[in-house]
Amino acid sequence: MTGAELVFVPLGAVALGSSVLVVTTDQLVRAALWLVVALGALAGCFLLLAAELVAWVQVLIYVGAVVVLLLFGIMLTRAPIGRSVDLDSGNRVAALVVALGTAGTLVTVVVGGFRTASIDLGDGSAGSAGTVGAGLFRYWVLPFELLSVLLLAALVGAIVLSRRDIGPRARDGGED
């Protein structure tokens, strides 16, 4: 076990444990906070894999933006702060079976497939902003630009969906 692995395993354990808490906790706000922990631990994992830029983007966008958005959502839907009893649906047992099955299958397959593969991180510059930026703007320019259009469309769509004064109300005369 190398040094990187020694650091990776506890980070992974934190990520996994906090993600399990995200899907099991009975307090909505705590779930969002555990998600922060999980995503942050994952950002650490990215760093260990020499994906420097990705790690910081993860922290910025996921931890900074997405989770904040989710918290907004929680509050706008007037969710109770504190314990609530009905966060799990009646589908729990089936969900557990399917999830364990998925885990079993995937783990079996990946362990079988990559038992001997190992990563040579080299000088660690593979994930630097310079390398990734060069790749992004040299080879991935078209998808990158398309993505900007997609984001714009999502923005417009989110606004249209959220505002009360536009949308379907004018057509079919009432949503409630």
């Binding site: 992974g12 909505l28 969002a32 933006a65 364990l100 994930g127 769509g157 959220s162």
Partner: protein, 120 residues
């Protein structure tokens, strides 16, 4: 570093996300679980990028794209959740049952001649 560690972690995170999507009622928690699944995929992408030493940096570029799309998805998803909440005062996904098959079965398909004549 062995590839097995990150990919096993990704597989487990994905399964946790699957459980969350299938087991949680609250739509926002479902969205969070979806984020977990997306992140598991991201971890895989980064791992294989590092392992294969891709000259195009495609794994990391795709990870960035996924993150951007995830942000868009969360934005739209929350807008939809808010709309549902406004309309129904609830965001429990298992109560959104408009897809249910409601009509009772119509007439009995087919009957024998004798039955038809008896009915007359």
């Amino acid at each position: 570093m062995h590839v097995v560690y990150p990919v096993v972690l990704a597989a487990l995170l994905f399964s946790v996300g699957v459980y969350g999507v299938l087991a949680r009622r609250n739509a926002i928690l479902v969205l969070m679980s979806v984020e977990l699944m997306l992140n598991a995929v991201n971890l895989n992408l980064v791992t294989f990028d590092a392992w294969l030493k891709d000259t195009l940096a495609s794994g990391q570029a795709l990870t960035l794209f996924v993150i951007a799309i995830a942000a868009a998805e969360v934005g739209l998803g929350l807008a939809i959740v808010l709309l549902v909440f406004r309309n129904r005062s609830s965001i429990a996904v298992d109560q959104l049952r408009d897809l249910a098959d409601r009509d009772a079965p119509s007439a009995v398909p087919g009957e024998t001649v004798a039955e038809r004549e008896a009915a007359r």
